[in-house]
């Protein structure tokens, strides 16, 4: 699926959720299903700076596709990571750089996350884009 097809699917899923708490539970459940990052990668090298909770992001490129794996000690951050990775994983650097991540606004994530958690989300996006730029 393309980045935009995945984003549209997520927006559709969010439209079925009634309120903030439903969204919270949905995100937390996603977090529970995120494959944990191996302990050896939970180091300073992979730490995402500016995140309220500890969060790590590991990136690699194979055959012009970027693969991300990530983890956090906060369930909601894990859930947000899970959403983000669903969109950008297994995509080319060009696709990551050329597509706006509009699902964040249209799902209400950007306006309905507390500013401190929103900070973490935007830091993660910046880190993903920086890696894509370096691969491009």
């Amino acid at each position: 699926m393309t980045i935009n097809e995945i984003q549209n699917k997520i927006i559709e899923e969010f439209s079925d959720l009634n309120d903030g708490f439903d969204k919270y539970q949905y995100i937390v459940n996603l977090g529970k299903s995120l494959e944990p990052l191996k302990e050896k990668y939970k180091t300073e090298e992979y730490l995402i700076n500016g995140c309220q909770s500890n969060a790590w992001l590991k990136t690699e490129i194979l055959d012009n596709k970027i693969f991300f794996s990530a983890d956090s000690d906060s369930l909601i951050i894990k859930g947000i990571i899970s959403l983000l990775l669903r969109v950008v994983n297994n995509q080319s650097p060009a696709d990551i750089l050329n597509n706006e991540l509009y699902f964040i606004e249209r799902t209400g994530l950007s306006s309905n996350l507390s500013p401190a958690r929103g900070n973490g989300l935007f830091t993660m996006i910046n880190q993903i884009r920086t890696f894509a730029e370096n691969c491009y």
């Binding site: 995100i27 500016g50 909601i76 935007f122």
Partner: protein
């Protein structure tokens, strides 16, 4: 939600429950009302004794329940929700039910019964007037007057560190740009000399009698950036507030939450620069309040005095010597004998002193975390960090609380480590 489940509680029943175990009184009014402002002209400002602050504004956040948990409000507690209006009270009660809280009561008599009757106990932050809301500031800008403001001259300062762009990108209309370097020396990071401060403040149009309202823009500081402080504008505002208090500005106020809270209200920002009109004379000898600042020699004496604390407002990783916290400080470790008052994640974040929207954390919570470390009102407390910004935020919080014996150890870890003085690493015994 079945509304039948929501029971109301009377003023006298609420009075009996204050302080009882597993009962949490929840104040959903804006933080300013909680702190002391009588926002709806109620007879007494402040909050019901022992209440916790959980403003209605936060209920829109997806992660609201995590804020609830961080305030130690548990599903097994009996909650008593109060606010200004019934609709908001019921919405929050419903939100609590939905998230697994089954013992929720609502109290609707706050404005008409509780605040008007002195037999019902209330509390407020001693210097609540110095922590202002966006609404108050907007009113002052539009009308030139505001409650608890008895002056005819004010200056709004958008503080930043070498980041005029943060101001140019959008500031509160009428605010002037204040670079922290104008008030602190970029070599020592200490406050500038009295002569330099006099000139800088006069150039900003600030005198002893001016009301100054400070704020900054928080723009996601990253510790790996060459100048992370440039993105920690609201922390810079705290630093300026401390220096202005030290210099002798009589009425220093802070916009609670910084630019973020102004934006959260949906108020306009301006890209038009306001040029300050210089003042002729500051009006008093600087520093008017020299005791607010402590230097190295005094800091060493404090360490030997059991009635005085040298309070380390740094992150745990800095305190145990895992990191120095700054790209321009090499040595890692702590001052032996310093009392630890954890700031949060790193040198540019103050999570343990702020709410998730950057407003100041509930003042009782700050007092509690300090008390657990032995930092109490009856002692003299000199706050420090790496170079003084975080120490200034802790100082400002203590000042808002009305603590009488407080200071900033200005040199902090930067000065201490540069003087090759003893230091410790690892977990303290």
């Amino acid at each position: 939600m079945g509304q039948v489940r929501v029971k109301s509680i009377s003023s006298d029943d609420l009075m009996k429950r204050i302080g009882s175990e597993n009962t949490k009184v929840i104040d959903i009014r804006p933080v300013e009302a909680y702190n002391g402002w009588a926002l709806e002209n109620e007879k007494r400002g402040g909050h019901i004794k022992s209440a916790k602050s959980l403003p209605f504004k936060w209920s829109k956040y997806i992660d609201w329940i995590e804020i609830v948990r961080s305030k130690n409000i548990k599903p097994e507690d009996t909650l008593i929700i109060y606010g200004y209006d019934t609709d908001s009270i019921m919405k929050i009660a419903e939100q609590f039910y939905k998230t697994g809280f089954n013992n929720v009561l609502v109290y609707k008599g706050y404005k008409n019964e509780w605040s008007v009757n002195d037999k019902y106990p209330m509390e407020k932050m001693e210097r609540y007037t110095q922590l202002v809301s966006p609404k108050w500031l907007k009113g002052l800008l539009e009308n030139g007057t505001a409650s608890n403001y008895d002056n005819n001259k004010f200056v709004i300062c958008h503080a930043h560190y070498q980041n005029k762009k943060a101001y140019d990108d959008g500031h509160i209309p009428g605010a002037i740009s204040v670079d922290t370097n104008s008030l602190e020396n970029p070599e020592t990071w200490n406050r500038r000399s009295p002569e330099e401060l006099k000139l800088a403040l006069e150039n900003y149009g600030i005198t002893h009698g001016t009301t100054v309202i400070l704020y900054g823009r928080f723009s996601y500081p990253n510790n790996n950036d060459p100048f992370p402080g440039s993105s920690a504008g609201h922390l810079g505002a705290m630093r300026c507030a401390f220096i202005m208090l030290y210099a002798g500005v009589k009425d220093v106020r802070l916009l609670n939450g910084g630019l973020q809270s102004w934006l959260d209200e949906g108020y306009n920002i301006s890209t038009e620069e306001t040029i300050p009109k210089a003042a002729k004379e500051f009006g008093v000898t600087i520093p008017l309040n020299p005791y607010f600042a402590v230097d190295l020699e005094e800091a060493q004496k404090i360490l030997k005095d059991k009635n005085r604390n040298l309070v380390c407002v740094r992150s745990r990783d800095e305190f145990i010597g895992k990191v120095s916290g700054y790209n321009y400080i090499e040595k890692k470790g702590r001052i032996p004998g310093a009392v630890f008052a954890d700031c949060g994640s790193d040198a540019y974040h103050m999570e343990n002193y702020r709410n998730l929207d950057h407003t100041a954390k509930e003042y009782h919570e700050i007092e509690k975390q300090w008390a657990e470390a032995g930092i109490t009102r009856n002692k003299f407390n000199a706050f420090y960090c790496g170079t003084g910004w975080r120490g200034s935020e802790a100082f400002f919080n203590a000042w808002l609380l009305g603590w009488p014996k407080i200071a900033v150890y200005d040199g902090g870890w930067f000065e201490w480590s540069n003087n090759n003085l003893p230091f410790e690493t690892g977990e303290p015994e």
